[in-house]
């Protein structure tokens, strides 16, 4: 059981790094049968453990400007529903990239995405701040992305090793 779990985690981590990694390669890397790998991946897809396969794109490098803002939101939780209900009201907007319930001076950390600062500012003013029980918002615009979700968005160092070493 323990060994299986370790292997499962290994496979999931490989897919997390590269969702397009062929089952054959995963099988070779973890020392498993290809069919087993395929079956397990299918099971995880069905169970909602693998949510979906996505691609990390550096839009700025491509030439598309996208604006992100981190918004600290203070809310009054509702009796019986806690923060879940108000979080739902926020995350249903397609402009909302992520919503986290956090500890500290604020309650929710919301990441909003838009084509321009104006668009994001309008969304906050018109949609977010006006939700019942939202007490305050504090908006921080993203200026430069260095590392996102484990991915570096700046040039990485070259391999400085010699061609042949002992």
């Amino acid at each position: 059981m323990h060994d299986d779990m370790t292997k499962d985690r290994e496979i999931l981590k490989l897919l997390e790094q590269d969702s397009r990694m062929p089952a054959e390669r995963i099988a070779a890397m973890v020392g498993e049968d290809v069919d087993n790998i395929r079956n397990r991946i299918r099971e995880w897809e069905n169970a909602g453990i693998i949510r979906r396969y996505k691609t990390v794109i550096d839009w700025e490098r491509y030439g598309v400007e996208r604006v992100f803002a981190f918004i600290d939101v203070s809310v009054t939780p509702e009796r019986g529903a806690g923060f879940d209900d108000i979080a739902r009201r926020i995350y249903r907007y397609p402009e909302v990239h992520s919503v986290y319930l956090v500890s500290g001076g604020h309650d929710l950390r919301v990441v909003v995405e838009g084509d321009s600062m104006k668009q994001v500012a309008n969304f906050v003013a018109e949609k977010l701040a006006t939700i019942d029980r939202v007490n305050s918002t504090n908006t921080h615009f993203l200026l430069k992305k260095y590392k996102d979700d484990g991915d570096l968005f700046v040039e990485t160092d070259a391999d400085h090793r010699l061609m042949v070493t002992p």
């Binding site: 070779a28 890397m29 973890v30 061609m163 042949v164 070493t165």
Partner: protein, 399 residues
């Protein structure tokens, strides 16, 4: 001019270096001929080195090394392998290479013999000779996974034998040895009163089974010099920092040579090493898991393209046989480099028993490994075709 030192002059330069000169002048070469991790030193360790420089830790340390680092090594070895070394038995060296040189010079008199298992790291035989010793190789073979047979060791013992030199997990074969065989080897050392030098620089890179620290075996501790360091496990090759642990009289001798020749390992580097041994355990585990994935993929790939390879259980090398190609290791490696631009190291660079093999390091990016396998597959097919046509023409000649 008067003649130079005869021993040094008579020693050929490293076969690896010779090969380097050719490869370095070519473009688009995939190099499987490095002997180091493809990871950069984990950031926390680099940062500790920077901090040390910023805060002025730029002076000498005591000859044996920073007490904090020595203490940490002592505790680490105790918790990991249940071996116990007191502070004055541990010496911080500038790489295991220095540790090996110190160990050999500390114990050898001119003409003493050192038995070592081949294939092995390129510096063993020259190191023994530079220390005035006689290098006595014991051959291991791919057919049985480069297992070292205790009886072969015993057969090589003479009245002049002073020490055994072992390296497991092994460079270049990736072989490990089981605990029982190692215990038998220790028993031989006890029987014939031999020292043992155990180079365990690849200990953390053990993928199958558990590493046996030689000093932990019965009767080993008071005759074993344990060499280990930070280069491979923590991806710190360029920092040049390692340690040697030895019985007190040997440690004292080693310290004397070290203090008169090297003085001490760099201060800031020792502080980085301290961070490594105390805090970088997770980094090591992640790197090891990554090597293991590539190891499986690459070894499977080699076997599929006809470069038969025993499963390397440690280090980051595969050592496939190329005997059936009819080429020598050097011919194979230079032909592969020139025709397909893949650099591997000819097995004979690691001693005569490495002939018929090449060393491939799989500590390189996955995409590079896969590309290298494709190129090598093409190469193997071409060689087979060439062999067939030469066979046909020699048949024709007979008629």
């Amino acid at each position: 001019m008067k003649s130079l030192n005869e021993t040094v002059t008579a020693t050929p330069p490293s076969g690896i270096r010779r090969f380097f000169d050719i490869a370095a002048q070519m473009d688009d070469v995939i190099s499987l001929s490095v002997g180091e991790p493809d990871f950069v030193t984990p950031w926390r360790i680099r940062e500790a080195g920077i901090y040390a420089i910023e805060h002025g830790f730029t002076a000498y340390t005591s000859n044996s090394g920073l007490p904090k680092l020595i203490q940490a090594i002592s505790e680490y070895l105790h918790s990991r392998y249940q071996v116990y070394y007191e502070k004055d038995q541990i010496l911080i060296t500038v790489g295991v290479s220095e540790g090996l040189d110190l160990a050999l010079r500390a114990i050898l008199n001119t003409g003493d013999e050192v038995i070592y298992a081949e294939p092995c790291y390129v510096s063993y035989a020259p190191g023994i000779r530079f220390a005035g010793g006689v290098a006595v190789p014991v051959h291991t073979h791919g057919d049985d996974g480069f297992r070292i047979h205790p009886k072969d060791i015993e057969a090589a013992v003479t009245p002049k034998t002073k020490a055994l030199l072992l390296c497991y997990p092994n460079n270049p074969t990736g072989a490990t040895q089981n605990r029982e065989d190692l215990q038998r080897i220790v028993d031989i050392a006890v029987k014939h009163d031999l020292y043992i030098i155990s180079d365990e620089i690849y200990d953390r890179l053990t993928y199958i089974g558990k590493h046996t620290c030689l000093s932990s075996l019965n009767g080993a501790a008071d005759r074993t010099i344990l060499l280990n360091g930070f280069s491979k496990a923590y991806a710190m090759t360029g920092w040049r920092v390692a340690y040697a642990c030895a019985p007190k009289p040997i440690a004292e001798n080693m310290l004397k040579i070290h203090q008169y020749t090297m003085l001490c390992a760099p201060h800031m580097v020792q502080l980085a090493a301290l961070e490594a041994i105390l805090k970088a355990g997770n980094d090591v585990e992640e790197m090891v898991a990554d090597y293991d994935h590539r190891r499986r993929l690459f070894v499977r790939g080699l076997n599929e393209i006809g470069m038969g390879c025993i499963e390397p259980k440690g280090a980051f090398y595969a050592f496939p046989s190329i005997r059936h190609t009819g080429l020598t290791s050097e011919q194979f490696a230079s032909k592969l480099l020139l025709e397909e631009r893949v650099a591997v190291v000819p097995g004979n660079a690691f001693g005569a028993s490495g002939e018929g093999y090449v060393r491939c390091c799989y500590a390189t990016a996955l995409s590079q490994l896969e590309e290298a396998l494709e190129r090598m597959e093409r190469f193997m097919q071409k060689i087979q075709m060439e062999r067939k046509s030469t066979n046909v023409s020699s048949e024709a000649l007979k008629i």
